[in-house]
């Protein structure tokens, strides 16, 4: 039953169970009505029986009284010959008619079972009454001998009457027994039906409650699991039907959406945490990088202050050298601060692009020339390969191109020892290509994937080993994008790196054609 009702909706179950209970109830009511009908029939039969018995008694008495009267009159006629007056005769005839009417009335009571008996009685009484009527009509006609000795007829009529009475009683008993059996049967059916209705109702109610309760229990379990944070749990929709299945599906959908939302929030939080960690590390690196030139600036300044108080001649050459280191360190500090400001501007969307026509070949040459001291720092060799034939003017932001080349070049110098650094530039109608190639330490694929992110160096420890805030390449990448170009990196650990920048010669025409 449970398996059967499990496929039905709650509403269907309620309708089904109400229907079943109503059907049983209707059966009960009709059985009861049948019983009532039988009782009514029984009463009618009882009344008929009583009426018939009374009528039979009455008829028997009337017949006996009439015969008594006739026997008396017959004796008087023979002895006194006194005539019967008309009123007496009419009265006697009317009594005979009454008897006839009673016989007929008896005929209206009863049914097929007594018909034969009634017809025999009727035949007999008709004959008897005809003899008696004849007696009264011819009473004063003294010549006629009257047949009054109708004992045979009379006894015959009485016997027929007795037979009819018996027959009627027999039938009444038979009918009464049948009705009693019907009443007993309907009573039994009513009681059984009543008990059955109660039992079935109870069973159906229990099934309905248990099935509904089990469904609600499963929903509750699901809701509790969701509430306790287990959003991977799913309510089994296949066990439910109708509204409860809809509800279960809604619950499951809700849980799925919550899970997605929580995943989103968690991944956003992880991103935020990662960004926060990166910024903390960046601040530590910035702090480290600021302190390194500051150490030289403060240290040399204090030392000069001490030395200027010494007695005797000042070593002017030494002084000039020391002041030079202070200036160099101060400039290093400045460029670092500029990098940080640049990135901050880029991040807040305030970095402007100022397009103008200029000669990139000249600019690249100047940058490399200015940075040539870096090449010698780790005993490197420098090669500049500019395809002068192809190089013309371009419409771009020269200060940004300058910074791109500066950052790539100083990066190459920083990570290369006893190697070669090559800067190459060429141009076609649409694109300027500048590449900076080194034979330095190179990067793994994983490092390459992260190297353009702000605040990140290829490896946390390279900041310690090689210095730098990890801003240079992030700025280069951002500038390339702002100028409508791209940057490409090819690198192999221990072999070297090649950064290749492509910038549109004229953003308006190049990018329009693209």
């Amino acid at each position: 039953m449970n398996r059967f009702t499990a496929g039905l909706s709650l509403r269907a179950r309620l309708y089904l169970f109400s229907g079943a209970i109503l059907t049983l109830f209707a059966v009960n009511v009709s059985t009861h009505l049948w019983g009532s009908l039988a009782r009514t029939e029984s009463l009618v039969a009882y009344r008929d029986t009583v009426n018939a018995a009374q009528l039979t008694d009455d008829l028997q008495q009337s017949l006996e009284a009439a015969r008594q009267q006739i026997l008396v009159l017959s004796t008087l006629r023979e002895t006194t010959e006194e005539p019967l007056d008309t009123s007496e005769r009419d009265s006697a005839l009317s009594e005979l008619q009454d008897i006839d009417a009673k016989v007929r009335r008896l005929g209206t009571i009863g049914n097929e079972g007594t018909e034969d008996y009634y017809l025999r009685l009727k035949e007999s009484t008709t004959l008897l009454l005809a003899v008696w009527q004849n007696f009264y009509r011819q009473y004063n006609d003294t010549d006629t001998a009257l047949d009054v000795d109708s004992a045979v007829n009379f006894n015959d009529a009485l016997q027929r009457l007795g037979e009819l009475d018996q027959r009627q009683q027999f039938l009444a008993i038979q009918r009464s027994n049948a009705i009693d059996r019907t009443i007993a049967l309907t009573d039994r059916i009513t009681v059984i039906g009543f008990i059955t209705t109660i039992a079935v109702t109870l069973v159906l109610v229990v099934i309905l409650i248990r099935a509904t309760n089990a469904s609600l229990q499963r929903l509750k379990t699901g809701a509790q699991r969701f509430g306790s944070g287990d959003l991977t749990y799913r309510i089994k929709e296949s066990l439910e039907a109708g509204e409860i299945r809809d509800l279960a599906r809604t619950f499951n959908d809700m849980s799925g959406k919550l899970q997605t939302a929580i995943d989103d929030v968690q991944s956003a939080k992880a991103d935020a945490d990662a960004a926060n960690d990166a910024k903390s590390m960046f601040l530590a690196n910035v702090s480290h990088e600021l302190r390194t030139p500051l150490n030289a600036i403060i240290g040399y300044s204090e030392m000069l202050q001490d030395e200027i108080g010494d007695p005797g001649e000042v070593d002017r050459a030494q002084f000039r050298h020391d002041l030079g280191t202070i200036i160099f360190s101060g400039r290093q500090l400045l460029s670092l601060i500029n990098d940080i400001l640049d990135l901050s501007k880029i991040e807040t969307g305030k970095m402007q692009v100022g397009l103008e026509w200029f000669q990139p070949a000249a600019l690249i040459f100047q940058v490399c020339d200015a940075l040539s001291p870096l090449v010698n720092q780790y005993n490197n060799r420098f090669e500049l390969v500019i395809d002068n034939d192809s190089m013309g003017e371009m419409n771009s932001d020269p200060s940004k191109l300058q910074q791109i080349v500066t950052n790539l070049f100083s990066n190459a110098c920083k990570f290369t020892e006893n190697g070669v650094i090559t800067v190459a530039a060429s141009m076609d109608d649409e694109w300027l290509t500048v590449s900076v190639t080194d034979t330095g330490i190179g990067m793994t694929a994983d490092q390459q994937s992260r190297v353009f992110q702000a605040f990140v160096q290829a490896e946390s420890s390279t900041g310690a080993k090689y210095g730098g805030t990890g801003l240079g390449l992030a700025i280069v990448k951002e500038f390339c994008t702002m100028l409508g170009g791209t940057i490409d990196l090819q690198s192999q650990p221990g072999v070297g790196s090649r950064f290749s920048v492509q910038l549109p010669v004229d953003p308006e025409s190049t990018l329009a054609n693209a």
């Binding site: 150490n295 030289a296 403060i298 240290g299 030392m303 080993k465």
Partner: protein, 125 residues
């Protein structure tokens, strides 16, 4: 013990900082021995047996933390006090240096009188 009798091993890879600090220590009366990387530092500790080591942590070949822990593991030089010099200014960096075996810690930019006081402080009395 006066500065005149003390020898200091200064380990620093940055040429400017090495030049500056060695000259100031010299002026203050210390006998200065120089090293430019971690390997040199251990070598000079064993050879020169300085009274104190001023150790930059960001060194090529062998970094300062490795130098400190290897020095403390070598019985011949374990007793030489080491002061870490670094531009890493966070508390965690100080702890990292001390747990590597350094006896004290000074942050760049160097407060020179403070550094001299720290040198006096780490010497056995």
């Amino acid at each position: 013990m006066s500065a005149q009798h003390l020898s200091v091993l200064l380990v620093e890879d940055n040429a400017l900082n090495r030049d500056m600090l060695s000259r100031r220590l010299d002026r203050a009366g210390f006998a200065v021995v120089l090293a430019e990387d971690g390997a040199q530092a251990l070598e000079k500790m064993r050879d020169a047996k300085p009274d104190v080591v001023l150790l930059d942590m960001n060194l090529p070949i062998k970094d300062g933390w490795t130098v400190a822990s290897e020095a403390k593991a070598d019985a011949a030089i374990a007793a030489i006090p080491i002061i870490a010099l670094t531009a890493h200014a966070m508390e965690a960096d100080r702890q990292k240096a001390l747990s590597a075996g350094c006896d004290d810690y000074a942050t760049k930019p160097i407060d020179f009188p403070g550094l001299v006081a720290k040198i006096q402080g780490v010497l056995p009395s």
